[in-house]
Symmetry: C2
Amino acid sequence: MTDWENLRFFVTLAREGTLSAAARVLAVDHVTVARRVAALEAETGLKLVDRRARSYRLTDDGKRIADTAMPMEEAAFAVGRAVQAVRPGLRGEVSISSPPSLANALIAPRLIALRRRHPGIHINLIGEKRTASLNRREADVALRLSRPSEPGLIARKIGRFGFSLYGAHAYLKETPPHALAFIAYDSSMDDAPQQKWLRTLVAGRETVLRTNDLENQAAAARTGVGLAVLPHFLGDRDPELRRYNAMSAPPDRDIWLLVHRDLRRTPIMRAVMDFLSDCTTRRRGE
Amino acid sequence: MTDWENLRFFVTLAREGTLSAAARVLAVDHVTVARRVAALEAETGLKLVDRRARSYRLTDDGKRIADTAMPMEEAAFAVGRAVQAVRPGLRGEVSISSPPSLANALIAPRLIALRRRHPGIHINLIGEKRTASLNRREADVALRLSRPSEPGLIARKIGRFGFSLYGAHAYLKETPPHALAFIAYDSSMDDAPQQKWLRTLVAGRETVLRTNDLENQAAAARTGVGLAVLPHFLGDRDPELRRYNAMSAPPDRDIWLLVHRDLRRTPIMRAVMDFLSDCTTRRRGE
DNA sequence: CGCGAATTGTGCGAAATTCCTCAATCATGC
DNA sequence: GCATGATTGAGGAATTTCGCACAATTCGCG
């Protein structure tokens, strides 16, 4: 292979499926992706993609080549991590991936403290449902609510928080228990423990709103349409919301800190990880 | 890592040591190598090389990065093999690495037969002392005289040949045994079994010529300056040379055929390997 | 059925990269 | 001590590569 760039373009095309999507990921024009894939075909003498009108479709050969080229991408990410690990001192950018609710409530408000302490560190806080891949270096560290088992990753438990049902103060006073309505996640979150717990509790009563966004649930609860299961760190600080104590309590959840093995020892990562640990453990007391 | 080409340049610079050597390997101008390495330094924010007057010298960081980037090169070679393996039919170029003597005496004269049988195959026969690396794809198949243990390589024994001492007809008739002189490999071949055997035999008698080239040894023996240890396939077919039977016989040597695991099943490789096998086993009878 | 959104393909101008040539530096051998 | 060979460095021309704008096609949806 005389041109590794062609392989890089081809691999991301293979993963993204479409020319335009690959172009977005690579931050280049879609024409460039098309050209480089064509160049790779010329170089190998193989037909790697079927150019369909609305999508590039890999041929069998293309699939095989893409598979063998994947390890190359892995190695490239390893190089990226090595660069990060070797970089001296406390400067540089660190990407943190976190569930949006944690990011908003616990991390973002305290970022100023980190910046004061380590002015050289630039933080990129990514609040996303989709769990970013540390292996692909979409983020440097991640907060998760369950312990995943990705190879090469180190997981550390750095906190724990509880849930309660919350409703608007007026709503709770006016509504008899059997008439209470509920606000829940949509079905994409059916596996979450607090959601399961809520399902058993609802038991025939009404679910008036489903949304995948926790802030939306809180906002809705505030208007008095029903009760939402919210983390304490979110519900307790809202002046318009009150806890509603049900028969059973929703299960607590642990906060896991994830970092790649190659990076965990670098000064900058240690600083960020300590900071994140502070954010989550201090909160436990409240 | 946003530009894999920079890594490719840097890795070969790290291996070759000098800018110009890397440029030769990469078939580009040395300035290009320098620029790409500089670009990689800018991209990573690390100082990867010390620009000394007469050589680029990797810094510690550079060494580390180069080490982590090596697997990337491995993967790139794997892609190259995959391309070769996927390529349909019996066309394409195959590189054969072989000890020069074998190449000249056994392979080259018969290549015409292979071409007749498979006109689509283009052979690139590399007769080199230095054993080419199949992993680096410097050759597709190799003939060796000992079984190496490189990872990913398949070795098969495809023949065996013996040695004898040879001298010019006249020289053998005129010279009494105690006055015989010898022709040997230079010290770089001290490990070869036939060389060791020769050393025990010489036992104080004269060694008039040392050369690392077997053809040179044969040519010298032909002129009557002494006896050389030659493979039978080389000495027997020379009308001016005769065997000289010493007390003990030199050890036979096996011929090994090496091919990378990823390539061994492709039609084109099977054809070439069958051909090589023919070349070496048929000869055994003679 | 027609509209809109998304994707791929094409032509052209701009920008970046590369190569070539010459000069400078340095180690090595005689 | 000096010539020689090899290497790095710099500037200008040429080639390659890239991005932009627009056309063409397909798919989904009301």
